[in-house]
Symmetry: C3
Subunit: 495 residues, 3 copies
């Protein structure tokens, strides 16, 4: 343990040493206006001479206002996505047992810190740096490459050209992408809960956010080969959610199921979560945060119709998925199961993430309807396969991440809000778009699953992956953290 901590300490110090000079690259060639002395004249400003203004002046004005507005929008929605960390923490801890709560909360709290450091260190550069169709190669470290954002399009000069379509400053782009990267890591947390060693999860998260996520992200959002073949993933059903899901699946397979979950006779011993209040709280926080995730992915408010459309498709899919998951759960389990209702909402949200900007509101309803059915069936299926996922992360993020990506190929209509995607299969576009989407699903899935398996394997070999059975029974709170989540309440440790 001490050795690992020592290594991490050294790594941290190296970061910092490297980071300080990076500050010199900030705002290249720009003298930012004084924060405390805005140049905006007040209503009663001294009258200016009546000189006619030119189109150039007007364009400059629009540009200067637009940068401010777009930056505010990008940051506001990024904050909402950041807030999803709370949602994940609450859903996961609520769906697990009281004796593992501290461990789960600690994982969820530290994972965004890990993501913040590793995405800054290397992830951003690998994902958005100019380079090959397979990864970024320029401006790799500390988001420190040349960049004259908020310049856009032809006017952009720098090494992060793939994201030059949004007219916001570099750090706004970075922060928005960071909160997405953080989401991928939190997805893993839920699936491996209640049995993974604390530091094993930390190491894996660092590699996932720093290396794996940015590489496949580059393929789609960084101008890589999947972008080239016409694959579309508006806000990340594949880039974020299925990547998190594949990484989680690899971990679950290597970890094995929780002690006592599957009986020798093949039957399933349900393990109930310790607080449905936390689960519901988390579910609503995630839904709230998704209004940053999807509408925010416009990365600007230049097209108000687009962001309003996306807000409505996002919400409609969630609502319909809740209804269908409730009904299916009611039919199969005889009573409406709250955890299925909450996971239904999340399934609908994951499924609409890729197509939200490319499909009609009516189509979003159908996508949500299907997602809600899929998630209930998937939960049952994974239990049949004895793949133990305490929170249903695979059913929500992997299964519906795949479905949502394919749904673009089925339901897209050319020019719903902006980008011309071509029509999907159900709107007369044939299999072209669907094939590109499927290629994306398969290539990202194979890469992430294989690499994740390898990384998990190495972590297992070098420091161990799973806590002892004794610790698992006592609870990871005592074992990993030497404490309890609810010390004033008695009698839950024996379970």
């Amino acid at each position: 343990m001490k050795r690992i901590i020592g290594m991490m300490m050294v790594a941290l110090c190296l970061f910092c040493a490297a980071a300080v000079p990076a500050s010199a690259e900030e705002a290249p060639g720009q003298a930012p206006p004084a924060v405390s002395q805005p140049a905006v004249p007040g209503p009663a400003a001294a009258p200016a001479p009546a000189v006619p203004v030119t189109q150039k002046t007007l364009d400059d004005l629009k540009s200067s206002l637009q940068v401010g507005i777009d930056t505010a929008w990008v940051l506001f929605t990024a904050f909402l996505v950041f807030f999803m960390n709370l949602g994940f923490a609450m859903v996961e801890s609520g769906l697990c047992r009281a004796k593992n709560t501290v461990n789960i909360l600690a994982k969820n709290f530290i994972v965004f810190a890990i993501a913040s450091v590793s995405f800054w260190f290397i992830g951003w550069g690998l994902m958005f740096g100019n380079g090959s169709p397979f990864m970024g190669l320029e401006g790799l470290f500390f988001a420190g490459g040349a960049d004259n954002s908020p310049a856009v399009g032809e006017a952009y000069k720098g090494v992060y050209a793939a994201i030059n379509w949004t007219g916001v400053p570099l750090w706004a782009k970075f922060f928005f992408q960071l909160v997405f990267a953080g989401t991928a890591a939190t997805i893993v947390s839920g699936a491996v809960a209640e049995r993974i060693k604390f530091h094993a999860f930390i190491i894996f998260s660092f590699i996932l956010v720093g290396i794996m996520y940015p590489i496949t992200g580059h393929w789609i959002w960084g101008g890589g080969f999947l972008a080239s073949i016409g694959m579309f993933d508006f806000a990340g059903s594949t880039v974020v959610h299925s990547v998190g899901g594949w990484a989680a699946l690899a971990g679950v397979l290597l970890l094995g199921s929780r002690t006592g979950k599957y009986r020798a006779d093949g039957s399933v011993n349900p393990i109930f979560g310790h607080s449905m209040s936390l689960v519901t709280l988390g579910g609503l926080v995630l839904w709230f945060g998704w209004f940053g995730f999807n509408p925010g992915s416009t990365m600007g408010v230049g097209d108000g119709s687009a962001i309003a459309h996306i807000a409505v498709t996002t919400n409609t899919a969630a609502a319909m998925a809740i209804l269908s998951s409730t009904l299916v759960s009611w039919l199969i389990q005889k009573k409406p199961d709250l955890s299925m209702i909450v996971n239904g909402a999340l399934a609908g949200l994951v499924a609409i993430t890729a197509p939200c900007a490319f499909v009609s509101v009516g189509s979003s309803a159908i996508i949500g309807l299907i997602a809600g059915v899929l998630v209930v069936l998937a939960v049952l299926m994974f239990d049949k396969l004895r793949i133990d996922d305490p929170v249903g992360a695979l059913s929500v993020h992997l299964v519906n991440g795949i479905f949502g990506t394919l749904a673009v190929g089925l339901f897209a209509q050319d020019k719903i809000t902006g980008t011309a995607t071509g029509n999907g299969l159900l709107f007369g576009g044939g299999f072209k778009l669907l094939a590109a989407q499927a290629a994306g699903v398969v290539s990202v899935g194979v890469f992430t699953f294989v690499v994740a398996l390898l990384v998990w394997y190495l972590v297992k070999a070098f420091m161990g992956l799973r806590v002892s059975t004794e610790e698992e029974i006592t609870g990871l709170d005592l074992g990993e953290h030497g404490t309890k989540a609810y010390p004033d309440f008695q009698g839950f440790l024996t379970k």
Copy 2:
């Protein structure tokens, strides 16, 4: 049960079939600009020739920027209002017993899904469609009528003329109004808690949001007869809160009180909530969300002074109501009661919702002060009347919804932030405004209460309203959902 589920399944499929073609109506005659290729030139764009620009060009520029800004504001505040669902869920579950928690959370989670579907299906059209003074008649289904938003005023061409004063796209208007409609349904949830059947609540919510709420909403916000006589309800003390309150009162009367609440000797057996942490959490989330509810109802940032004024009146009323409810509770109950403090805040917020844009900050303080007193007295009164409202929803939303609406007639000052309301009684305007407000209170109250009574009655007749006494004693979590909220914690089921 199966029959109901089957019916709902069929209804869902019909929605979807109808919904897909609706997509063709989107953005009529508009080719939205590409999301991923914004037309905004960067700071270093190629120089344009120095041609003088005209007023027309300038107006177009302003318009294009304003639409983006206003849309961002409307969506941002709508997200805050959406987040109030979490507040309601936490306040209600916290104020009820642990054994009914899952049921309460499930109701609160699904109710916004129900609202999303029914308001999209028919509610929006009934509320904002052009039609008679009593309801909308055009563009009824799926928000699918002709509409050239964000055009405003004279330039607007479409069937939703009553809301043509805000320059945002149709879906932004729809989404903002949807989150308000959802609020009305969640209000009902609290009053009928701990004894209503899950599906009875779902059916009622669907009808409330799809039919009842939009009709009375049309009278005030949809250009109906109450708008014509000069009644003002800025953000919905009547449109949202008292409507929810009246619908809840009808339900409570038909349901009866919880078993054991009122003893045979006439005394009250207080039933305590199971988690004051959740109550406080919910209260603060609601206060936070109200900053979307009230300031957001400007539906644009064209008048910065107005939204800042509204934020301050909203907050001041809440603060003063907390102080007065704390003091009154301290005096009457001898100790400051936390549930009264939280309900005090909500009472102040409900009361200031109608007048927030029409009264001074000083007046908002007095309105809050009165609201805080009213809510404590109302809670005691309803208990005297043996009307059992587990969370105080009637005292908060009905009593203070009425008071807030009348407060416009008392405290309004002409042109505080925009709309000329005329002066209220206390500012020399006589009884004219107060009379219009009272007419609104009475007509909305009578309609909603009578129709709600009828709907509740039909639900009761056809599928039953109340769970069995046995189930009520065991808890609705086991009865309705077959599960427990806190399975790791023992010993609370016997209460």
Copy 3:
């Protein structure tokens, strides 16, 4: 008790009497445009004649749009800071025992109401009114002085000149500053928890927010003597956090430690919090709210690069502080302690609050790294000194508030985002800036600590400060409020 309540009642009535006329001062000389009839022409408006426009017209347009955008930004970020009240409430109640939960929640809920009233009554005027270098003297009451905001700079005419650099309406400035003032009072709450009388805390909070906080705030943000000597505190490491910390320290010293915390033999008896779920929830809400606290302190979006930069420095410091506090806690306590991880995040956020706009992202990482170490050592140190701070508020807000303020003098680089601060010691600026920062730390610290000691002493003398030992052992929930937080769960009252 009755006498106090009576006095408060009278005070409330006086407020209101004074408040009503204050409304006449609103929006001096302005006829705000109608909220419901925006002047913005729609895309299809009637064509305007092709008259060339002048620079004056253009400036007016920019100004009018900028006011709306900036107001939306200021309010949005203010709402996030308001939301921090939830974070503080959850962290504090979670880190304390179940038997004191209602009391802690009630304190945290009412404290913002108190702050809202006292800052409106007198605090705003003392802080931002024109006056001496030591306090505001004009426009003292009810934010009622002359003011033509959103006019800025030379065009500004009014008595709140120190905050004339931001082009937003007066009430937007007021509300933004109010939520900051409220934060200072909530900091105190945590340190004095589990033993202070409810009304003693209320009285102190009123004086802190109404008198003490605004006076020292005037020195730095109100154009006072610390501003004059070139001290910089961008978002309030000193103005807000260390002021709250000094006031708390004075209270803790007069209150003494909780019964049973320190044993006679000098050893420490750790008292565990009752819910780590609430602690983590609160920590993430605070982190989320800090994105309002720091980026919002630009009070406008005129410089998009600045707000993006500030968002990233804020997040980076939090992330690095989490990593360093985790590691230090792991090394010292042998296991990673969740309460240290959460307090680590808060420590990093407090420390970066002053320098967030003045340092590079690399420097923010180092500042965070140090803050995370400091907070763990400080918690241990205060326990060594037998200064009993149940939630670590002193370690987070006082120690890191001081460190963050000094960090400006060490790490500042001239013109990172706007204001020219000059370089700090580590960037070749010598001791000049560091000396000014130290002067600020010392003068604010001495004043606040001495006055707070006096106020706490008077409260103690006139109404008592600490509950009886019997009440402390039974719990303040029963003693102060006559209720329990979790009545359905048994067995926690004996602890």
